[in-house]
């Protein structure tokens, strides 16, 4: 038998989904941050506004930050009108995204249950359900026996530390495959002529009065007509360079997966009170998220006692998980804001737009914020969906308090 070339029997390398161009010296728009929000913004700049002289600069690899680390939950059951508007528009875009991108994203509308464990939880949840209905968001209040019908493995017995007193249910909510989402946006943006530039860290900004004229990067200086900051947990590193104060605090947020299991969990369950949220990915692993680590941190890792607490909560709520094995844990860096709502819009620089403060919940907004931020850049005017989330609300006092609906403790 003659020796074979190693790898000769492997299939051909699949087509690359995007080009890896050298940065040009100048672009109309430079988006800092090649995660979900940055890539979605690039896609809609090209698709909705015909703006393609755009660079997305990313210090690591595309979608390797929070886009690779989130628990992929998509829902729009937020309390206030301002939040409903942007999250519900995002959900409608999710519903047509696979077709728009021409790429599979495994969007699965399996519903989400937000559990209530105290009488105050119940009152807040019922209020949120009614607010959702008024805003055209699908929402129901479920009693414990109805919770058990939607998700039979939830422990709704009385013999539990924090009893399940009911849950809000959004049937149209669900999960998607986060990597595929990023790749789908990246592929479309690249096809449209937008340059996605990886391994390109912004180290400073060139300014002229109230304008930023370009970004300094590890791959050279790049002139920019407009700059959009989509750096999530690392936003403050950029705004510190610009001398802009932004009221976000960066925290590690941890998540974990079990080994692959047979399908046991038909929906998504979130519990704010006991700090765990769980779904089962298409492959079969249980995906669980925790509350944030309390201290400020940029290390993309957290403390193990947070994981232990989260597992204790998970096993109490889902006794069937007791024999599952933890496979791996990781952390992303989330930029939490004082009212648990995003900060989007103008900055003290005329041509710099901010998109941050999404905290623990940015993934679900990906297409919605991409749509609205692209509009904002193209028209040099905040899109109505992001206008309520301007930086100046912390001076005016017009906060959009979503700590209840954020569903992740922070």
């Amino acid at each position: 038998m003659s020796p074979r070339t190693p790898g000769a029997d492997l299939p051909e390398h699949p087509d690359f989904l995007w080009r890896n161009p050298e940065p040009k010296r100048s672009y109309d728009v430079v988006i800092v941050g090649g995660g979900g929000h940055g890539l979605a913004t690039a896609h809609y700049l090209a698709k909705n506004h015909g703006i393609t002289n755009v660079a997305v600069v990313e210090k690591g690899w595309l979608a390797g930050g929070n886009m690779a680390r989130n628990t992929t939950i998509i829902r729009s059951n937020y309390l206030w009108d301002e939040s409903s508007a942007i999250y519900e528009q995002a959900l409608k875009l999710w519903e047509g995204l696979e077709e728009d991108l021409g790429y599979p994203i495994l969007f699965s509308q399996r519903g989400v249950l937000n559990l209530a464990h105290t009488l105050q939880d119940v009152r807040d949840s019922v209020r949120r359900v009614e607010a959702n209905k008024l805003n055209g968001v699908d929402a129901e209040w479920l009693e414990p026996d109805e919770v058990r019908k939607v998700c039979p493995i939830v422990n709704t017995s009385a013999d539990i530390r924090y009893r399940v007193l009911g849950a809000t249910y959004q049937p149209r909510a669900g999960i998607a495959k986060h990597d595929y989402v990023a790749w789908g946006f990246a592929r479309r943006a690249s096809e449209a002529g937008i340059d996605l530039i990886q391994d390109c860290e912004v180290t400073g900004f060139a300014t002229d009065g109230n304008r930023v004229t370009g970004v300094r990067t590890t791959r050279g200086d790049i002139a920019a007509g407009t700059v959009a900051l989509c750096a999530a947990g690392h936003t403050s590193v950029l705004t510190d360079m610009l001398g802009i104060r932004v009221p976000v605090q960066s925290h590690p947020l941890q998540a974990l997966v079990s080994e692959l299991l047979e399908p046991v969990h038909p929906t998504v369950v979130m519990s704010n009170a006991v700090h765990v949220y769980v779904s089962q990915a298409h492959k079969g692993e249980l995906v669980m998220g925790a509350g944030v680590d309390s201290y400020n941190g940029y290390g993309q890792r957290g403390a193990f006692h947070i994981i232990e607490r989260q597992m204790a909560a998970a096993v109490e709520l889902f006794p069937v998980f007791a024999r599952a094995h933890l496979l791996r844990t990781w952390a992303g860096i989330v930029d939490t804001s004082p009212d648990a709502s995003p900060i989007v819009g103008r900055t003290p620089y005329d041509n710099v737009y901010l998109n941050c403060g999404w905290g623990t919940g940015g993934f679900k907004a990906t297409p919605g914020i991409g749509w609205a931020l692209a509009h904002t850049i193209a028209h040099d005017e905040p899109h109505p969906n992001v206008a309520p989330f301007a930086l100046d609300r912390f001076v005016s006092g017009a906060l959009v308090d979503e700590h209840g609906a954020a569903a992740v403790a922070h």
Partner: protein
């Protein structure tokens, strides 16, 4: 588990402590004269430094006293702990 050095109790496990955010943020001297913008700065805006950060910690499951620490937010290493009546140490 990370050990945190309480200035009074010595090194104890991280779970005994709770976090108090940025240190050295004094209450305004003349609160009646502050503008909305200045109030916003005091109430909502804190530094979010990547690197050495002066912050407050509480030994909540121990001696229940507050102290300050210089901690690196990228490595999570505690470089210095000091009492509230001590000035912020100069770190190299």
């Amino acid at each position: 588990m990370q050990l945190i050095e309480c200035p009074w109790c010595g090194p104890r496990e991280e779970v005994e402590f709770s976090y108090g955010g940025q240190a050295h943020v004094p209450y305004p001297d003349t609160p009646g004269e502050l503008t909305d913008e200045e109030w916003a700065r005091y109430v909502f805006f804190r530094d979010n430094t990547r690197g050495r950060f002066a912050e407050r910690w509480h030994h909540s499951a121990g001696c229940r006293r507050w102290f300050n620490a210089i901690r690196d937010t990228a490595t999570y290493r505690f470089e210095r702990v000091y009492r509230l009546d001590e000035p912020r140490p100069v770190t190299p």
